[in-house]
């Protein structure tokens, strides 16, 4: 099993190089992409809430790799340091080079439910079918995206940009999203049930529980349940 798959959960990492160019009003493509991504924060909800089976995801623009410090010394470096006749210029050429990116990158890191067959294509197809406008809004500035105008081309493009990394978020198991949302809904409703039925006699409790089960319909994953991407407690529950 590939390392970016854990059970039925998939960790997708996409690195798409952004073209080194600028718009008509002289804003670099990289800044434009970042600006568009940041504008999603002011929308009522993330467009990714519409993409089925998305557990969690993150977009950002990577301008360059981060240099933490000069590389640590190896045994040979230490030896060279101790030998006074090694000229400084020679010593410096043996220092590892600093790495830099040739362009900024759009990074998309996403965890989703892929099922037992690790269905990446299906996820990306749904993503294109639900939010292709938003996809074009940001990926339109990336190398190689020209001509991507249908789901198949999008899948091919994304696979070219895929980087196999095991970036899993904690806080989700690998069940389908509907199962997880329903489970959270049931947990919330059950604690309310427990509070409102505390101390009742067995017969009443049993009758009330029957009513409760009918109302919350544990087997029905579509309703009532929590809405995907919900973040306000008063807007969370989707009624049947």
């Amino acid at each position: 099993m590939a390392s970016n798959i854990s059970g039925n959960a998939y960790a997708l990492t996409i690195l798409s190089p952004i073209k080194n160019s600028f718009t008509d009003d002289e804003v670099s493509y990289a800044d434009t992409v970042r600006d568009r991504l940041q504008s999603w924060n002011s929308e009522p909800n993330s467009p990714m809430a519409l993409v089925p089976q998305t557990y969690l995801c993150r977009y950002f623009v990577l301008d360059d790799v981060y240099t933490e410090s000069l590389p640590g010394a190896s045994a040979i470096d230490t030896l060279i340091d101790l030998l006074p006749f090694v000229p400084d210029s020679l010593r410096r050429c043996y220092w590892p080079k600093e790495d830099h990116l040739n362009s900024s990158y759009l990074v998309f890191s996403c965890n989703f439910h892929c099922g037992p067959n690790a269905d990446l294509d299906g996820y990306l197809r749904n993503m294109w079918n639900t939010i292709s406008d938003k996809i074009k809004e940001v990926w339109g500035f990336c190398h190689g995206f020209d001509g991507v105008d249908n789901a198949d081309k999008f899948i091919d493009y994304m696979k070219k940009c895929q980087f196999e990394a095991t970036l899993f978020f904690v806080g989700s198991n690998d069940d389908p999203l509907e199962e997880q949302l329903k489970a959270l809904y049931l947990k919330q409703e059950f604690s309310k049930f427990a509070v409102s039925n505390q101390g009742l006699d067995t017969a009443t409790l049993r009758a009330n529980f029957k009513g409760f089960i009918q109302r919350v319909a544990p087997a029905n994953l579509t309703a009532p349940t929590w809405t995907a991407g919900g973040y306000r407690i008063d807007k969370l529950v989707k009624r049947g």
């Binding site: 604690s191 409102s196 505390q198 008063d234």
Partner: protein, 557 residues
Amino acid sequence: MTKKLDLLDIQGNVIRAYGRFGYPVARYVCLNVRDGAKGREFVGSISKKVTTAVEWGDGPGKMKQPDWTINISFTYQGLKDLGVPTSSLIGFSPEFVSGMKARRDILGDDGPSSPQHWDPIWQRNRETRENDVHILVSINALAGQGLDWLKTAEKNRDQAYKWFQGEVDKTKGGVVILDGHLGDNGEQFKYQDAKIVLDNGKPTSKEHFGYTDGISDPVFEGVPYDENRVKGRGKQIPGGKWAPLATGEFLLGHVDEAMEYPPSPEPVLLSRNGTYMVYRKLHENVATFDRYLEEQGSKFPGGKELLAAKFVGRWRDNGAPLVKAPDAESKAKYDAQFAAADEQGKDDLLSDFTYDDDMSGGKCPFSSHIRRINPRASLEMIHEEAGFTPLGAFLSLFLPPSWLGMFKKAGDKPGSLKVSKGAFNTPGALSDRRRLLRRGLPYGEVKDRTRDDGNHGIIIMMVNADINRQFEFVQQQWINYGNDFKAGNDKEIILGNHSLDDKFPSKAVLQVDPNSDQAPFLLSDIPRLVETRGGEYFFIPSITALHMIARGVVDPT
């Protein structure tokens, strides 16, 4: 060598909760500096009388216990207007710079606790320069002997206040006392008075809900007169022992629990032996508390007084911890032991306990006050799920599960938690950096227990080296949220900013012994019992720093 603090350099209110040393009365005064030079002169004259943390005693070479104490602290605006240079000011923590009002979202000061309901002095603070609170002066007064104990204390306080007022007058308007502390009938006072709660004229150590307050105040390294109080107040170390907390958790310029110096402003002389203080005026809704306790107590299997104890983790009458006295029967035994014990024995009975035998919260609930404020080692808990043993897990790769019955483990019962051994260096790893010294006294009198309004509550002053890591974390994560206690979004029962929305009422779970056949008790629709009426973040400088501020010679270069 044991660490010894320079007690003559540290302000007395950092180390001492004055109430415990015979000072039942206090007065807090807020000042605005109108003229920097005159303000510095004023700080200089106050600093001559500022009470230090020195040991008191009679006889030659000893410092006599004073009839009144005076301590002084500053807000960020105050330090700025007193001329502390920018290069020093930038070293103070962001939350201190922003002030309590700006941090209200983090603190959960919403609804009736939001700043528009604060006392006028705190509402006006940080709105206009003339109304900013710059300096807080606190006066505590010693009680007398005999029947006149309280009158003597009030006389001492008045004497101190008179002297203090004289010093303010000398500035000729350079420093002014701000009014706007609300009194009993809505009138605005130039000071906030505080006093222990009386029971038929006799002193108690209780607050207005009837609980004994301030028992488990942290003990840290270097305080000579706290050596016998470490058990239950210091940090839990392996082997069921206790040690004093690192000094740097409560004083700047000293090493803290992470073996680091806490972030502090430059120069060292400005910050060392100084610390931050959180001042909060908390109103207590006594009628709502009584009504809620009555209503839930009638349903609670253990009765009303046990339920009251479950709210806090201690019984109301003598402060007996639930961990030691979880029910009426054990409480009777505890009481007998308590009555027979000497002072030290009493103190141990109150304070020397752990949650090691109550990891599931069956005795002391996860949402009770003392467990939330000071979880001791109780956050290092795990729940073991049913499943295979390690060998069984390996074999299950090759063999059908039905063959592996003998390699299965039952797991813990639902709701059962135990100490996670070996996961942390020390039992208190998750709580040792979240401790708070608690100072302050109740204020006001409850004249009519059937009403919430009126003027009664607690002036609480919490001292810590890092407001964000200590006070704000405890307030946000442990009081107003429950995840660290595996309690979801349940809040601390007494202090939590309980929901005002009927559709999403606050609840708390009172756990039971997972091996018993009892059901947990669910507290529902918990009302807001305590409301914030104001407050601010202050810096308590050392005596050295006070002198430097007064002389205008703070210089970090």
